[in-house]
C-alpha cells in the first residue's frame, strides 16, 4: 500500500498494538471488579437506525470552595436548574470538565454535590483543572474512570481523557505537578495536551465494539485538534486520534475548554466546542477554524454574558446539531449540516460587530 492513507493506517496499527493487550486486560479486571463504566469492549452491536434524542452539556464550572467564588457556584446552580427544566428532559447530561478551579478535592466534592441535583443521568468528562494537583486521583475517586464508553439509541459514545500532559506517562517530573512559583494560577505555561498512547488504545478498543456505520460521539474536554498552542488549545497527537476515528462514517467530537462556541470539521469528523458556565474566553489570536463564528463580545459588567449551557440533538441519520444556550442571548445552533456543507448552509448568526 502506498500514499498517506495507507501510511497512516500502518502507523495507527503499530502505535495501538503496543498498548492494546494491556488495556484489554485492564478492562477485564475492571469488569471483574464490578465497575459501572467498564471500558472493555462489550459485544459488537449491529448498525441500526438511530432513535433521535438529545443530551445536555454543562462545562467549565471552575468551582472553588471559597465562598467568595460565589459567581462560579451560582452559575453552576443556574445551569443545573435550567437543565432540570428542559422539557422534554435530555436523555443524559454531559459535564464537559473543569468542575474545579484548581483540582482541590474539596472543590471537586462540592461540585459533585451540586451535580447530584441533576435529574437526568450525568456523564463526567475530566478537565485539565480537575487534574491540576494530583493527576486526577481525587476526580477518579469521585467519578470513576476517566475513559469509558456506552451505546445509546444506536450511537456509540466514547469519553476520552484529552488533557494528559505530553510526557506525563513517562516522566515523573511532568506528571501534572502544580507549577512552582507565583504563576501557579496560570495553567497555560504547562505542556500541551495529548490523548496519549494508552488513551488512543482505549479509544480504539471502545470503537472496536461497533461497526463503521455506527454514529460515534467522542466526548473530550480539550478540542482534540491543533488550534492555538499558546493557550493550550492544542492536542499534540491530534492526527493519530483522527486516524483512529477516520474509518467511521459519522463522527462528532463534543468538547469544552475554549469557553466559547467553536465549530470545525476535519475529514469526516465534526467538532462542536461548547460554552462555559464560569466565564467566557476571548477569541484566540490564531488557529480558529474557518467554520467557527465569533459571537458578540461578552459584556464584562455582566458576568453571565457569554456563558450558559448547551445541548446536542442527534438526528436519525446520526448527525449532531449543537446548540449554545447563551444566557442573556438567543440560543445559537450549529448544525451538522452546516459543518458538512462547508458552511454554505444553515449558517449560524454572525456577530454584529467585530471584536478588537
Amino acid at each position: 500500500m502506498t500514499g498517506p492513507d495507507s501510511a497512516r493506517a500502518i502507523d495507527v496499527a503499530r502505535v495501538d498494538r503496543r498498548s492494546f493487550l494491556r488495556v484489554v486486560s485492564a478492562g477485564v479486571v475492571g469488569l471483574c471488579a464490578g465497575g459501572t463504566e467498564p471500558f472493555a469492549a462489550p459485544a459488537a452491536s449491529s448498525p441500526g437506525r438511530v432513535d433521535a434524542f438529545r443530551f445536555a452539556v454543562i462545562a467549565d464550572a471552575h468551582l472553588s470552595v471559597d465562598p467568595r467564588n460565589d459567581r462560579a457556584e451560582k452559575a453552576l446552580l443556574r445551569a443545573v436548574a435550567e437543565v432540570n427544566a428542559m422539557d422534554p428532559q435530555p436523555d443524559f447530561v454531559v459535564f464537559g470538565g473543569d468542575l474545579a478551579r484548581d483540582g482541590r478535592k474539596d472543590a471537586l466534592a462540592f461540585g459533585a454535590r451540586i451535580l447530584k441535583a441533576v435529574k437526568a443521568p450525568v456523564r463526567m468528562v475530566v478537565g485539565d483543572h480537575d487534574r491540576h494537583l494530583d493527576g486526577g486521583a481525587a476526580w477518579r475517586g469521585l467519578f470513576g474512570d476517566e475513559e469509558y464508553a456506552w451505546t445509546h439509541k444506536g450511537v456509540r459514545f466514547v469519553v476520552v481523557n484529552g488533557v494528559r500532559r505530553v510526557g506525563e506517562a513517562t516522566s515523573a517530573a511532568t506528571r501534572d505537578p502544580a507549577p512552582p512559583g507565583p504563576l501557579h494560577a496560570d495553567d497555560r505555561r504547562r505542556a500541551a495536551f495529548e490523548v496519549g498512547e494508552e488513551g488512543r488504545a482505549r479509544l480504539a478498543v471502545h470503537l472496536a465494539a461497533v461497526t463503521k456505520e455506527t454514529p460515534v460521539v467522542v466526548l473530550s474536554h480539550a478540542p482534540l485538534y491543533k488550534l492555538h498552542r499558546g493557550w493550550n488549545l492544542w492536542t499534540e497527537d491530534a492526527e493519530a486520534v483522527h486516524a483512529i476515528l477516520a474509518p467511521f462514517e459519522n463522527v462528532t467530537v463534543v468538547h469544552a475548554h475554549a469557553h466559547q462556541p467553536l465549530a470545525h470539521r476535519i475529514g469526516t469528523i465534526d467538532f462542536h466546542g461548547m460554552i462555559a458556565t464560569a466565564f467566557p474566553l476571548p477569541r484566540p489570536p490564531e488557529g480558529v477554524p474557518s467554520l467557527s463564528f465569533p459571537i458578540d463580545r461578552p459584556n464584562p459588567f455582566n458576568p453571565a454574558d457569554g456563558c450558559g449551557i448547551g445541548w446536542v440533538r442527534i438526528a436519525a441519520d446520526g448527525t449532531a446539531d449543537a446548540t449554545h444556550g447563551l444566557w442573556n442571548r438567543e440560543p445559537i445552533t450549529v448544525t451538522g449540516r452546516y459543518l458538512r456543507r462547508a458552511g454554505t448552509e444553515d449558517r449560524p448568526p454572525r456577530a454584529r460587530r467585530p471584536s478588537y
Binding site: 494560577a185 496560570d186 466565564f279 458576568p303
Partner: protein, 172 residues
Amino acid sequence: MAMKTYLIAISIVVGVSASQWPTGSGADAETRRAFPSIPKPHDNRDVVVDGNSTAPGSYGGYSATDVAAWERETYKLVLEGARVFHDATAIGSDIGVSCGTCHPDGSGTHPETYPKYQVQIGRAALLRDMIDWCSRQSARGAALGADDPRTRALEAYLTAQRQGATIRYGKH
C-alpha cells in the same frame, strides 16, 4: 587627581546601575522565559549621537547607555506587569483567579480604546479604572488604586501587548 576621582565615581555609578538589572537571573528572567513573546519597547537607538556632538535639540547628546537604560527600565515594568497579571495572589484573589484566567496574553482588554465612557462606572474610565474594577469584581481581589505599583505594572504590560494597535479612544 580630580579626574581620577571622577572616573572612579563614574565606574561606581555604572556598576550599581548594572547590578539593578542582572541579566539572565531573578524573577524578571523567569518572567521573560515564561512569556517570551512580550514585545520589547520602541527602539530608540536613532536618538543616540556621539557624546561630543553639538547637534541641537533636547534629544541631542544621549548615549547608547542612556537608551539601553530606558529600554531596560521600561521593559522591567512591563515584565513586572506580566508577572502580576498571571498571579492570582499578587492581586489578592483568594479564589485562584488571575487577570490571565479570563484574558490570556492580555487579550480582550483593548487598552487602545481608553478613555471611554463606562455607564457602569459612571464616568469616562481609564484603563486603570477597569483594572481596579476587574480585580475587585472578577477576581475578588484587592482594590488597586491608580498609583498602586501593581496597577502601573499591569497598565504597562497591557499596553505593551497591544504594540502597533491603533489608538481609538472612546471606542466600545
